[in-house]
């Protein structure tokens, strides 16, 4: 026998494999049969790496490794496998896998379940259950042949795997997908360190929000650095020790959103780590920002499934952003390639791994080059992980991990025939080795005919050609074949044949239609008829919508830019000594208010006719919870001064645009009110279309949210386990926190940097300012006494519905007040709230603002301010100041915003009517000289949105008709952040619908 028939290779390996992989420390229950697995694959097109393709080349492997590749002599003692017509590629590498790991169940726990303040993990580990830096996932790893088989089928030979659980997860293990003992499969025990923002199976309360996860990770960096000094008080902490040890490994951070990619990178920047980012798939929406991270990425291919949008009323509830993402997600890899970013590709996240290659082909169809695709599966992941010495290309010395295909690996009809891992073959589609296509002389008993086989393996068209043409059902299992047919004479009964194929001929036996047994054979006589290839359906030219900023319904390809604007002949509410100017002009230039007065001229300006219109400074909302993601309450502890709203800004929030439509130009985004010392706040300018950094109000004094009363003592909970449970306890939480902060500040060098106490020290040193959720006079007084005791001022009391009862004391203390116009009676502590509160406080010398705490009401803050005119007789000018200049003052930004004054930021609203009137609408809302909302342009956007949505609906229906699998139309939904987790002020459509679902499920 000159050479092996490939058909039999599999059987051969079952025999020899044990010897190739025999492990010396393990006893043998047999006679030793050593083998060195010496093979030569000849005549192949060998793609050594994405850039090097060798034709008619030979690959020689031995002992599981590559011995040589190229135009090399075939060693005499190697088994030769003729790969004529075949391609050989390095096996793929997936560096984001949980192969061989047991499943983890998500942790329970929300802030309503009993508190778990510290980790349940036994042993000398972190206080936090989601910090598991000590976990070596090599110790958790078990070979899982059924999963390995799935991955090998896709072309993978090695994976980096870890149990995807926790925030600091420990070390990943690099393994092959061979069917062998773990000892031989583990290639690198500690190959990587893994992180995420998701606490996973942790049952501990903290962190209960994305901002909490970020704070925890930042604190962990500081703790680990401090631990290096071997602090006696900490004893042994294996989590911190391991965290330090594993910093030298590749650091891989999994995120679930493009903005979180930036969040992870920012933490890395702070602590000198460049994370490798396991992306979520929507990063193409902000590719410039991705590029600026300098990170390497791991990209998933779990493109969203089409939805069934045939019902228009269901489709109405699917946002255009979700539809656009469905269309554009396959461009993600191509977008990274175009931007010149380095990335690997992972199969992770695919619900059905068999969609890996179709999705990869789709990514290629959407612009990813085949070369880059191959790099992303071979050399790039090997480089990222630092395992190029083992895998990533077909070079001598590397592992014998390669796939044999019948064509270029990413081509549509190409089939993976075998995947070799560590020198061992794993058949995938063995019938693809040889094509049976051809013409054969068929002898069936006494009858002779021609057996014609045409087409491709797996999809042959088989016929018997005699006087008549009889079509034959054909099936094949490797070399065993079956034929079944019914000739005219058989009257519907079938002749069934079985046989084998070898050396271009068939031999076998069978039963005729009448039941007689008969022998048959068929020998090759001629080449197959070439099947005229159907002119392949011409690939539809890709017509894709554009990426918009932000990626939401009212985003645009180009966000508004600053303009020179001249508003002519308007009623201008200056909020300055000049008062209300009639028939005045306002000139906006370079983002600033350039001039105010009559008869202004600027030929370069866009002119807005202000006749009959009113112009005011943009509205500033002192108390807002829009544009925050991952939870704006970190409820798990009574003091969480370390968490920061700035970490969780969501620039895609439609509420930003909605606020602009109501004339709001700045919103102060607060932590919620579920604990006494909440998180750090963030003042935003509503620059619709900018990223999170671009929306932050520059150079402002930092603030923090405090809260008192019912929410922080969790009055809704009949068995509140979290201290405090009374207003008495709330005061002690404050006393304790500031006492600790003062003591902390006095500690010498080498102390543990505590992000919570650092923040409180800033307050003590008048570097950070408090806005304090508060209602009743007792707690307001108590808060001021605490501040007096520690020598600082409570900058702002927010809500402050009983402020009128202690307004004189507040004025003396120097506190500002930011209140609701007329809210009351939604809980016991607001039973004495009155709509004259703002007026009384103002009359008593307190600087007063009206805030929203509500994404809807924020759009009508001007009218809310007008309620003080109605209920208390406040002047209209003073009323308007409560939503413009006064909040600017209390936020320490009145030097830049809050009034119409030359040199101030051009944050301006043009109103259709007196701004305090119920009939007033914002016609233009201008931020830094850019028209970010324009009521007329909004109509155009609505029309464009409708057209774009309709295009996508049609496309999705087309995809469904074209055979794409679909899921039911899933309504898009984003929760409105609520200040108070226990009580919903709003009554949104989803509140009502979910109430009626409950109805359905009783």
């Amino acid at each position: 026998m000159k050479k092996f028939q490939p058909f039999w290779l599999g059987a051969l390996f079952l025999l020899v494999s044990t010897s190739l992989f025999s492990q010396v420390t393990f006893p043998i229950n047999d006679v030793a049969s050593p083998s060195n697995g010496y093979y030569a694959f000849t005549n192949a097109t060998i793609v050594k790496d994405a850039k090097t393709t060798l034709s008619k080349a030979t690959l020689v492997i031995k002992n599981g490794k590559i011995e040589s590749v190229g135009a090399v002599a075939v060693p005499k003692d190697a088994v030769v496998i003729d790969c004529g017509g075949k391609y050989i590629y390095p096996s793929f590498i997936d560096i984001y896998s949980d192969y061989g790991m047991s499943a983890v169940s998500p942790g329970g726990g929300n802030f309503r379940s009993p508190s778990q303040m510290i980790s349940n993990t036994k042993g000398p580990y972190s206080w936090n259950q989601a910090i598991k830096s000590e976990v070596s996932h090599a110790k958790l790893f078990e070979v899982n042949e059924s999963k390995a088989k799935e991955l090998r089928k896709l072309g993978f030979g090695t994976v980096l795997t870890h149990q995807m659980d926790g925030i600091s997860r420990g070390t990943g293990v690099f393994v092959s997908l061979a069917k062998q003992r773990e000892n031989l499969v583990v290639l690198k025990e500690k190959a990587s360190a893994h992180y995420s923002f998701n606490k996973g199976s942790s049952t501990q309360d903290y962190p209960g929000s994305l901002m909490g996860s970020i704070a925890l990770l930042r604190q962990n960096f500081l703790d680990a650095a401090w631990y290096k000094s071997k602090p006696a008080k900490e004893g042994t902490n294996l989590s911190l020790a391991s965290f330090n040890e594993i910093q030298s490994l590749p650091q891989i951070f999994e995120v679930s959103d493009k903005w979180s990619a930036l969040r992870a990178d920012k933490i890395g920047d702070e602590f000198g780590v460049q994370y490798i980012i396991k992306a979520s798939g929507n990063e193409y929406q902000r590719i410039d920002e991705m590029k600026a991270t300098n990170a390497k990425f791991i990209l998933p291919l779990d493109f969203p499934q089409a939805m069934d949008l045939e019902d228009p009323t269901d489709a109405r509830f699917v946002n255009v952003a979700d539809m656009k993402h469905w269309e554009l997600a396959p461009t993600n890899p191509a977008t990274f390639e175009k931007a010149g970013l380095s990335f690997a590709i992972t199969a992770n996240g695919l619900k059905d791994v068999s969609s890996f290659m179709p999705n990869l082909r789709k990514a290629i169809q959407y612009g990813l080059s085949e070369q880059k695709a191959l790099e992303a599966l071979t050399s790039t992941p090997a480089t990222i992980l630092g395992v190029s010495d083992m895998v990533g290309s077909l070079d001598a010395g590397k592992l014998a991990n390669f796939v044999i295909t019948n064509g270029p690996v990413f081509a549509d009809k190409t089939v993976l025939i075998e995947n070799w891992v560590q020198g061992e073959a794993y058949p995938i589609a063995k019938e693809q080795w040889n094509s049976l296509a051809g013409k054969y002389d068929l002898t069936l008993g006494a009858n002779k005919a021609t057996l014609s086989i045409s087409g491709e393996p797996g999809g042959y068209k088989v016929q018997i050609l005699a006087k008549d043409t009889t079509s034959v059902d054909f099936s094949q299992k490797e070399s065993l074949i079956n034929l079944s047919f019914s000739s005219k004479a058989d009257k519907g009964k079938r002749t069934r044949l079985t046989g084998t194929f070898a050396d271009a001929s068939f031999t076998g036996t069978g039963q005729l239609a009448n039941g007689d047994w008969i022998s048959w054979k068929a020998t090759a006589s001629a080449a197959a008829d070439t099947v005229a290839k159907k002119a392949g359906k011409k690939e539809d030219k890709l017509e894709l919508g554009s990426v918009i900023y932000p990626f939401a319904g009212y985003g645009t390809p180009k966000p508004a830019a600053a303009e020179t604007i001249l508003i002519k002949n308007a009623t201008v509410w200056t909020n300055e000594k000049a008062g209300i100017l009639k028939g005045s002009d306002v000139l906006v230039k370079n983002g600033k208010i350039a001039a105010i007065g009559k008869g202004l001229k600027d030929p370069s300006a866009r002119v807005i006719d202000g006749t009959g219109k009113h112009v005011t400074a943009g509205i500033i909302d002192e108390h807002s919870h829009i544009a925050g993601t991952g939870g704006i309450n970190e409820c798990s502890q009574s003091v969480t001064a370390e968490v920061r709203i700035q970490d969780v800004i969501d620039p895609d929030d439609i509420d930003i645009y909605r606020q602009l439509s109501g004339g709001v130009t700045s919103s102060h985004i607060l932590h919620g009110s579920c604990n006494t010392i909440g998180g750090q706040t963030q003042l935003l300018k509503l620059r619709w279309g900018a990223n999170a950094e671009g929306m932050k109000f520059a150079n402002w004094d930092p603030f923090i949210k405090f809260a008192l009363g019912e929410n922080v003592k969790r009055s809704w909970n009949t068995s509140n386990p979290r201290f405090p449970d009374t207003r008495m306890g709330v005061e002690q939480v404050l006393m304790d926190a500031f006492t600790r902060a003062r003591d902390y500040e006095k500690q010498g060098p080498g102390k543990r940097i505590d992000l919570e106490l650092e923040t409180l020290v800033e307050i003590l040193n008048h570097k950070r300012f408090i806005t304090c959720h508060s209602y009743v006079q007792s707690e307001i007084n108590a808060m001021m006494k605490v501040a007096d005791h520690f020598g600082f001022t409570v900058n702002t009391f927010t809500h402050i519905l009983e402020g009128y009862k202690v307004a004189d004391i507040m004025a003396k203390h120097g506190a500002n007040a930011s209140t609701f116009s007329d809210w009351w009676s939604y809980k016991i502590e607001v039973t004495d709230a009155i709509p004259q509160n703002a007026y009384l406080m103002q009359k008593t010398g307190v600087n007063v603002a009206i805030n929203s705490d509500d994404a809807e009401m924020a759009r009508r803050l001007n009218q809310e301010a007008a309620k003080s005119v109605k209920y208390a007789g406040m002047s209209e000018e003073e009323a308007l100041k409560m939503v413009t200049l006064n909040p600017a003052k209390m936020l320490h930004v009145a030097d830049r915003v809050g009034s119409i004054k030359e040199g101030k930021d051009a944050d301006i609203v043009v109103w259709s009517d007196n701004p305090l009137s119920i009939y007033a609408k914002s016609e233009q809302t201008i931020v830094d000289g850019a028209v970010v909302f324009d009521r007329a342009a909004d109509l155009v956007r609505q029309a464009e949105l409708k057209a774009e949505k309709q295009r996508l609906v049609q496309k999705m229906i087309g995809a469904k008709k074209g055979g794409a699998s679909t899921r039911p139309a899933t309504p898009s939904y984003k929760a409105e952040n609520e200040c108070e987790d226990d009580h919903h002020h709003g009554n949104s459509i989803w509140d009502r619908i979910s109430n009626r679902w409950a109805n359905t499920e009783n």
Partner: protein, 434 residues
């Protein structure tokens, strides 16, 4: 100026400001004829009478006239020159008197256990001493439809007038309609998907609707019997639906739900009112064709979807108006109880986004009365109707100007004081604020 008005208001009512909340009491029946002259009378049906004269007698509107009317004898005369005269505002679908503090269970009497409760009656729990009531009526709301909320059939609502010693006195239209909460007919967003939930919520919703159908079929059969061996209180309670004396108020939001409601009402020949009806603007023509009236939810709300026009909820009333659909609005759930004092401002927004001020006024007066089945008695300033009237210093729909100086329910002059104005006075005293 404004301050003066406020001051004048308190001065005018000085006889009443001596009352604390706990000593304020409902007004006695109208004894004297009241003649209101010089004001701009907004009839409620779109008509405006400048410098009109309004005569209230024995609790009824005796005369509305564009020309001066001579009333002899001992009448109380109110000079409304420069002021606006409106019908009392009506708040449909209200939780007033059933919910005092929405966060505190012991103060909530609005959701009963069980699914099919047509026999539940809101009126018997209506608390005339709720501190919220006076703050609502001092903004012009004089009537409210007190509506239960729990289960699939929450029960019967009643219309009350807001100046009463107890609920018997308050009842203005007892048990005026039966409420039904339509099972939701939409898939769950990912955030709402949870284990144990129905895989197909629409199918589950339709199945629930089928249960309701069976319930009403059985009720109908029961009511056709002359005598019963055993009495069914639930079925008995539905009688008014079948004889057409009570509307069927269906609480729902989405197009499919509204279409299902229309079919349901047709099958049983119920008089249909949709409540909530967020997406009613999408099928306004169908609603018109089927003579379905609508009680919208709060106009001041966020759009139903991210892609909707930012001002869609503000525009919805105008779209219904244009299509000729009879509609009003109410406050359901959430903080609806105390927020109802904003009712006129929601109407103001209706006007700003698509209708005249008089049309917006009708939505919360005459049209509300029509929907609630009380238009023969109230809702407009027309001869023979109850003397439910308010007088304001300016446009009642605009918070800039809507200060009430007078309110009359069935001719009784209301004490417009409330807990808030009393606390205001108390602290004006403390700080010596004039």
């Amino acid at each position: 100026m404004k301050k003066q008005i406020i001051y004048t208001l308190f001065f005018a009512l000085s006889g009443l400001t001596a009352f604390a909340q706990e000593t304020m009491h409902p007004s006695p029946a109208q004894s004297k004829t009241i003649v209101i002259t010089g004001g701009t009378i907004h009839v409620g049906n779109g008509t405006i009478i400048e410098n009109g004269t309004l005569v209230l007698e024995k609790g009824k509107i005796k005369t509305v006239s564009a020309t001066p009317v001579t009333i002899s004898g001992d009448a109380e005369r109110i000079d409304a020159t420069g002021k606006q005269v409106y019908p009392g505002l009506i708040a449909p679908n209200s939780s007033l008197g059933l919910v005092e503090f929405a966060s505190t269970k012991s103060t909530i009497d609005i959701e009963e256990l069980g699914e099919m409760n047509p026999n539940i009656r809101s009126i018997v729990a209506y608390n005339t001493d709720s501190k919220i009531i006076n703050t609502v009526r001092s903004n012009g709301v004089l009537l409210a439809q007190i509506t239960p909320q729990g289960g699939m059939i929450p029960g019967s609502s009643s219309v009350v007038q807001l100046d009463a010693w107890n609920w018997q006195d308050a009842a203005y239209a007892m048990d005026n309609g039966i409420h039904f909460k339509m099972p939701a007919l939409i898939n769950r967003p990912a955030a709402f998907q949870r284990r144990g939930a129905n895989a197909d919520p629409v199918a589950a919703g339709l199945a629930r609707l089928e249960e309701a159908r069976s319930f009403f079929k059985e009720a109908k059969a029961y009511l056709n019997e002359k005598t019963h061996t055993s009495t069914n209180l639930k079925f008995e309670a539905t009688r008014g639906l079948f004889d057409g004396s009570k509307p069927f108020f269906v609480h729902c939001d989405l197009v499919k739900e509204m279409l299902a409601a229309i079919n349901f009402a047709k099958e049983f020949n119920f008089k249909l009112v949709l409540v909530g009806a967020t997406d009613s603007w999408m099928i306004a023509d169908i609603l018109k064709e089927n003579k379905v009236s609508v009680i919208l939810g709060e106009i001041h709300s966020l759009p139903a979807t991210e892609d909707d026009a930012v001002d869609q909820p503000y525009k919805t009333p105008g779209m219904l108006q244009k299509a000729g659909v009879l509609f009003s609005m109410g406050f359901e759930g959430g903080d609806g109880n105390w927020r109802q004092r904003d009712l006129p401002f929601h109407a103001g927004t209706m006007s700003a986004y698509g209708m005249t001020k008089e049309e917006a006024l009708s939505a919360i007066t005459l049209n509300a009365a029509k929907i609630l089945g009380i238009a023969d008695r109230t809702g407009s300033i027309e001869t023979g109707k109850d003397a439910n009237v308010i007088i304001t210093t300016g446009d009642v729909l605009d918070m800039r100007s809507s200060v009430l100086t007078h309110a009359f329910i069935q001719g009784r002059a209301l004490n417009l004081d409330n807990k808030h104005s009393q606390l205001f006075e108390r602290y004006k005293y403390k700080y010596n604020v004039k």
